[in-house]
Amino acid sequence: VTRRAWGLLLGGAALLAFAWTVSWPELTGLGAATVVLVLTVRIVSGPRPTGTVHLPSSHLQVTRGEPACVRLSVQLRRRRAFLAVVEGDPAAPMSTARVPRARSAELPLDSTRRCVLSVGPYALVQSDPWGLVRRVVSSSGGGTLTVLPRVHPVRRELTATRTTGDSELASRRYGDQHFHALRDYVLGDEPRQVHWRSSARAGHLVVRQQVAAASVGLVVVLDVDQGAYALPGRFSTGHDEARFELAVEIAASVATARLGSLEQVLLLTSRRGDTPVLARGSSSAGVLRALAAVEAVPPVTAALEELVAAVRRASAAHLLFVSGDPSHRTATALQRLARLVPSTVVVRVGEPAAVAGLRGLQQVSVRTVEDLT
C-alpha cells in the first residue's frame, strides 16, 4: 500500500469523523468515498501475485529510424488485476505496458536518435489505476541499446584513382618497401635506389620505384568539430545536427561498401584522444557501433593533427575525409595527411562554403544521400 493510500485513508477517516461530529452530511460523503476507495482497491488487488519477467538479450541493436521494441518474457502462475511491465523505477516509470495474455510483453524503444544508451531495468508490477497499491512481483536487469546510423548504398566512386605521380610520391614514403617498377632517375632520388644492372643495360640511370605495402585499404576520417557543421547565418550559434547526421551516415555507408569488397577500413574521428576502429572482412559491425556513439564536439576538443601518426602507421591506400566546412586549422592538418596518403578525397556534406585551406585537394560534394548513388 503506497503512501498516497495511507494519506487518503487517514485524511478520509479524519474528514469522516469531523463531518459526523458537526453533522455535515456532504463532507461525510466525501470522507466515506475516500475510505471506501482505498479499501476496495486493496480488496480487488487480492493476494500477492507470483511470476517472473526476463530480458532475453541485454544488447539491443537497431538502425536509426526503424521501429524497435524490447521484448520481455513474462511468466505468471495466475493472472491478477492491475498487472503491468514497467521500465525504470516502479514509483516513477519511464514507460509502462500492460501484460498481454501471451508470454511476452513489448515496450517500444526510441530509435529516432543515433546513440548508445542503457535501457531498463524492467519490473513486473501490480499497480492499480489510482496508485494506491503497488507491488513489485519480479524484476529484471537492464541492457544496452545501440541505435546505429543508417547505411545507404554507395555506387558512386568517392575515392580517387591512383596516378603515376601518386606512385612516385608513394615511393618516397617510409614504412614497408615493396618493389613496384623501374623508372628513370630524377634529381633527389636516393642513390641507394639506383638499379645498376638495369642502368648499365639502358645506358642511363634507372631507379627502383617502390611502394609501401598498404595494410589498410581505406581510412575514413570523420570531422566531429561542431564548427564544421555550423548553422547558416552570419551570427548563428550551434551546429546543424541534420548535417552532422548526414556526415555520419556517409562515413558509415562508405565504410560498409568498402568492407563489402574485402578491404580493411580504419575509422578515425577528429576528436582528441578517440580510439581508432579497424574493421576487416565483411563485417561492418565494429565501425557502425563506433559511429553510433559519435557526437559533434566543440572545436577545442577536436584535434585532427593528432591523427597524423595513426594515418602514417596505417599506410593506407586511400583516405576519405568527411566534413562540412572544415576550419582553417583542420584544413592545415588535412594537407599534412594528404602528403602521407596521396589518394585523399574531402567529402563536403551539405551546402559547402569556400574553404581556402583545401586548395589542391580533391573535393566531392554530397548534399543528400541520393548523391551517393
Binding site: R4, G7, L8, G11, L15, L16, A19, W20, V22, S23, W24, P25, E26, L27, T28, G29, L30, G31, A32, A33, T34, V36, L37, T40, V41, V44, A81, F82, L83, A84, V86, A92, P93, M94, S95, T96, A97, R98, V99, L107, P108, S127, D128, P129, W130, G131
Partner: protein
C-alpha cells in the same frame, strides 16, 4: 516539475466545478450561475494553460488575483440579495487554481482543494442541503485521480484497469450516498453553524441538488407539530457576531427591534 496534460487538468477543473455546485445552498441560483461557476471555470482554464507551460506559480498568482477581481465584480453585481456570492466566488476560484496547480506536484494533491471547496460551502451555509453535487464531485474526483496517475505511468499502449475505474467509481458514489443518508437517519441533529448570522432562509438550492430524505418515523411526522426546517437560521445579533459581518458588502439581515 511535472507538466500535466490537458486531459488531467480538464478532469480536475470539472471536479472543482462539481464541488463548487455545493455553493448552491449558500447563494442564490443567479449568484451560482453568474458568479461562482463562470469564475471557477475561467480561472481553471487559464491556470491549466499556465501549468501546461511549466509555470505553476504563475497559475497560482493568476488564480488569486483574478479570483479576487471576479469576486469584487460578483459583489458589485449581486448586491445584498444573493447571499455570500463574493466570498463564494473568491474561494471557488482560489481553490480551483490550487487544485490545477497541485497537479504539477502530485496526482492526489488536488483532492485537498476539492475538500476545501466543499468545506467552504458548508461554512458559508450550505450544510445539509447539497447532497447530489457532493456525489458528483466524488465521482469526478475518482476519475480525475485515475487520469492524473495514469498519465504519470506513461503507458505505451492500452491501459489496464479501465473497467475497474468505472466500476469502482460507481461503488465509491454509492458509498458516499449511503453515508449521507445514514447520517441523516442515525444522527438526527441540525448541521453546525460556523458563520452565525449570515444565512438567508429564502435561499434554497434547486431540487436537483438534494437527495431524497430518508423516511422519518418520529411522532411529529404522524400528525404532530410540523418538523423543524433543515435550515437553522440563527437570529442575528446586533453588530454581528462574526468579523466577516464588518465587511461592507456582506449580506446583513435586518436588525430586529428589541422590545423595550
Amino acid at each position: 516539475m511535472h507538466r500535466p496534460s490537458a486531459g488531467a487538468t480538464t478532469a480536475v477543473t470539472l471536479t472543482c466545478l462539481a464541488a463548487a455546485l455545493c455553493f448552491g445552498g449558500a447563494v442564490t441560483s443567479a449568484g451560482l450561475l453568474l458568479g461562482v461557476l463562470p469564475s471557477a471555470l475561467v480561472v481553471g482554464l487559464l491556470s491549466a494553460r499556465l501549468v501546461a507551460r511549466g509555470r505553476p506559480l504563475g497559475a497560482l498568482a493568476l488564480g488569486a488575483g483574478l479570483g479576487l477581481a471576479l469576486a469584487e465584480a460578483a459583489n458589485l453585481l449581486s448586491g445584498d440579495t444573493n447571499g455570500p456570492t463574493a466570498r463564494s466566488t473568491a474561494v471557488a476560484t482560489l481553490m480551483t487554481a490550487l487544485a490545477v496547480t497541485s497537479l504539477s506536484r502530485g496526482p492526489a494533491l488536488f483532492l485537498l482543494p476539492v475538500a476545501g471547496l466543499v468545506s467552504a460551502a458548508m461554512v458559508l451555509g450550505a450544510a445539509g442541503e447539497v447532497g447530489v453535487p457532493v456525489l458528483l464531485a466524488a465521482a469526478l474526483a475518482t476519475w480525475a485521480l485515475a487520469s492524473a496517475h495514469g498519465e504519470r505511468q506513461q503507458w505505451t499502449g492500452p491501459r489496464t484497469g479501465r473497467p475497474a475505474v468505472t466500476i469502482l467509481t460507481g461503488i465509491v458514489v454509492a458509498a458516499a450516498a449511503v453515508s449521507v443518508l445514514a447520517q441523516q437517519v442515525v444522527r438526527d441533529e441540525p448541521p453546525a453553524l460556523q458563520a452565525v448570522g449570515q444565512l438567508d432562509a429564502t435561499i434554497v438550492p434547486g431540487t436537483l441538488f438534494t437527495l431524497p430524505q430518508p423516511r422519518d418515523d418520529s411522532p411529529a411526522a404522524e400528525g404532530g407539530p410540523p418538523p423543524p426546517s433543515d435550515r437553522h437560521v440563527t437570529e442575528p445579533q446586533p453588530g454581528g457576531s462574526s468579523r466577516l459581518l464588518n465587511f461592507p458588502h456582506v449580506y446583513r439581515p435586518p436588525t430586529p427591534r428589541l422590545p423595550r
